[in-house]
């Protein structure tokens, strides 16, 4: 105990009980930006859940968001594809841009936005339909294919990219909810990538999975980075370290610090980050 305290004092230049004026580290990028977020505030009714967050998400990077539970990671993530619109009391100010286009502009089609910014949820939520129908759903509703052959092709490719093809190629007609938890989550990923989104949002995608399924999904995320920008919320520091290039640390609705993942974990700029990654609270 004693030793840890000494280390903390040495490593943290700022006090642990004061939040920084501005986000520390390197929240903004110079080029190759996929999503710009500027001065984003989110309110649930009168209660503010996100305070003045400015952050860039780079193209083809995996950005991890970490922080104690209730700090607003999910809330912020759900702003990026306007999933928060479904909550009546939720109000958002500031600006969020996808490829320079304000996604909260009234002229924006929310369906198109969500097709461009896909989402994978905490609890695997495949439709209670067949494996095939789960993956084919997106291409169908968006009219991406002309015939069954094209659709079959998309379904196969998506399942392959999600690393699920080998396991389900003989069970395409089985109901998706009958798969194991890890398979279900990969099915959800296949479903998301079937419409080729630019960004994939993942909200603690492995929290309901066992360690082996988690390892498979993590590997998958690393491969998906070649084609997609990925924002992943996780409560596991190891996972953030394994899969992400940059990591953002949230605390009580504020973005405390963003930096290259290895740098944030080895040399955090703020005492809170330090305290969190060393497991002093969580």
């Amino acid at each position: 105990m004693f030793a840890v305290e000494i280390k903390t004092e040495q490593a943290s230049p700022t006090q642990i009980d004061t939040l920084p004026e501005r986000t520390l580290g390197k929240p903004l990028l110079d080029k190759k930006v996929s999503m710009h977020c500027r001065e984003v505030d989110v309110f649930y009714g009168d209660k503010q859940a996100i305070f003045d967050v400015s952050l860039d998400i780079g193209k083809n990077e995996v950005l991890a968001m970490i922080g104690p539970s209730g700090c607003g990671k999910s809330t912020f993530l759900r702003c990026l594809n306007r999933m928060n619109d479904t909550i009546n009391s939720c109000k958002i100010t500031g600006s969020i841009r996808l490829d320079g286009e304000d996604i909260y502009d009234p002229k924006v089609d929310i369906e198109l936005l969500r097709a461009r910014v896909g989402m994978v949820f905490q609890k695997p939520n495949p439709f209670p339909k067949s494996v095939y129908e789960n993956v084919a759903y997106g291409p169908r509703i968006h009219g991406l294919t002309r015939d069954k052959i094209e659709l079959d092709e998309i379904v196969k490719n998506s399942l392959m990219r999600a690393g699920l093809w080998k396991e389900v190629k003989d069970r395409l007609d089985d109901v998706g909810t009958g798969l194991s938890g890890g398979q279900q989550q990969r099915l959800c990923i296949a479903r998301a990538i079937a419409i080729n989104p630019e960004v994939i949002l993942m909200d603690e995608p492995c929290s309901a999975l066992d360690p082996i399924a988690t390892a498979i999904v993590e590997e998958l995320i690393d491969e998906l980075r070649q084609r997609y920008t990925i924002v992943i919320v996780t409560h596991s520091m190891q996972q953030a370290a394994r899969v992400s290039q940059r990591t953002a640390y949230f605390h009580l609705g504020k973005l405390v610090e963003v930096d290259k993942t290895d740098r944030l974990f080895t040399n955090p700029s703020h005492g809170l980050t330090e305290a969190y990654i060393t497991g002093r609270f969580g």
Binding site: T86, R114, G118, F121, N125, P126, F127, P128, I195
Partner: protein, 429 residues
């Protein structure tokens, strides 16, 4: 005392306290279980009493007594001209043939008054039987045939239940005893009960008219209340904004579900019959009235079914870029369907058993003809039961119970369908 000993003592005390409380808990547990079991048994007992009383009263209505008589198809009576014209054959006085046969059977009966009593042993339905025979085969005219003719309900009651249950008296009893001794009485399955409309004569009365009326009414109710109720529920649950206005609507729907059904009947009388001038006693009006009554049930059940669809499915659909409409129709509705259908069938079962509002719109008239369309005057099963229950004849009493059995059979069938639908469409997630 050292801490360790203190802790041991403390632990022992805790253990004893738990053991004490466990005894009490077990007792309470057992008492509650007995109470529950008792309630179930009591419920089943009442159900059993109800069913056995209805069945024991009603089963005999499914049998009908026939009298064997030798009928002479007298050409003089049926077709004196010998033209064999179907119109003539249809309008002939077949009653005379029956009377002649009875007189021949009992030559000792001479007085007019006694003869009239004698004629009363055979149902007027025998006339129809003879007419049908002649029309289907005119060659029968001139021949003698032993035929089974429908007996009057008093004979029927006598034969099925004995002297005490019948209104036969004196001579009539002797005549019937004579028939019985000759094996000229028998019971057969009462097809009349299922193929005929209502009648003043119990032995000729059937539920066909009421069943057809009920069918029309329920079909109209289903056709209107299912789409309207489901649409209203989807709108309220999925699309309408939450504000005072929708709160108000919601409260009113819940109130509507609790309104006594007779009020809907009065409303139907005022609106459909007096204002829109739709025909009285028509299944159309009955269906419209029962739609009003069933709608709230369906809306409430459908909303509950929609609410029970997990939000994760909605999020999954929206997250894929589905519109709200697509989310509802592709994912939420299929999952909510079993619940909606169950609610609908429960509502319809209620409507099927409903009497009071239909009395208000005149579906209580005595109607012999079987309705051919939704605008013909008709009655429905529960109203038929009500009408028969009101009749003094013992034969109508047993038909009342038999009609109740048929109604119960339909209700059980509907509930089975509801269960089957739920099983079939239920999906896990």
């Amino acid at each position: 005392m050292s801490d360790r000993i203190k802790a041991t003592v403390k632990r022992r005390q805790v253990r004893e306290a738990i053991e004490q409380s466990l005894i009490r808990r077990r007792k309470r547990n057992r008492r509650f279980r007995m109470l529950g079991l008792g309630a179930v048994i009591l419920g089943m007992l009442f159900l059993g009493i109800m069913f056995s009383s209805i069945i024991s009263k009603g089963y005999s209505a499914f049998a009908l007594t026939d009298i064997q008589l030798e009928i002479y198809f007298d050409p003089e009576v049926i077709d004196p001209q010998g033209g064999r014209n179907p119109d003539v054959l249809a309008s002939a006085a077949y009653g005379k043939l029956v009377k002649a046969a009875l007189r021949k059977e009992y030559p000792e009966v001479k007085k007019r008054k006694e003869k009239r009593k004698l004629y009363r042993l055979v149902s007027t339905g025998a006339i129809q039987q003879l007419r049908d025979l002649v029309l289907s085969d005119p060659a029968i005219i001139g021949s003698r045939k032993k035929l089974w003719l429908i007996a009057d309900d008093d004979v029927d009651q006598y034969y099925k239940h004995g002297e005490n249950q019948s209104r036969l008296k004196g001579q009539q009893l002797a005549w019937v005893a004579q028939l019985r001794a000759k094996d000229a009485l028998k019971t057969s399955f009462n097809t009349n009960f299922f193929t005929a409309g209502d009648s003043r004569e119990p032995e000729l009365a059937g539920i066909r008219g009421a069943v057809v009326g009920s069918f029309f009414v329920i079909m109209i109710t289903l056709g209107l209340s299912l789409p309207l109720g489901v649409a209203a529920a989807i709108y309220l649950e999925e699309f309408s904004p939450r504000n005072h206005w929708t709160d108000f609507v919601e409260i009113n729907i819940n109130n509507l579900a609790a309104v006594p059904s007779i009020v809907f009947g009065l409303l139907g009388l005022a609106v459909y019959i007096n204002f829109f001038e739709l025909p009285r006693s028509a299944p159309l009006v009955g269906g419209l009235v029962l739609t009003l009554m069933t709608l709230p049930t369906i809306i409430i059940a459908s909303r509950a079914a929609l609410k029970s669809v997990p939000p994760s499915i909605r999020e999954a659909a929206l997250g894929m870029g589905a519109s709200k409409m697509q989310m509802v129709f592709h994912h939420v509705l299929p999952l909510a369907m079993p619940g909606m259908l169950t609610g609908t069938i429960i509502g319809l079962a209620q409507a099927l058993g409903e009497t009071a509002p239909l009395l208000m719109i005149g579906m209580v008239a005595f109607i012999v003809d079987i309705p051919g369309s939704i605008l013909d005057p008709a009655t429905v099963l529960p109203v038929q039961i009500y009408l028969w229950a009101d009749s003094p004849e013992r034969a109508f009493t047993e038909r009342t119970s038999a009609a109740i059995l048929v109604l119960l059979a339909f209700l059980v069938l509907m509930n089975l369908v509801a269960i089957w639908l739920r099983r079939k469409f239920e999906k896990r997630w």
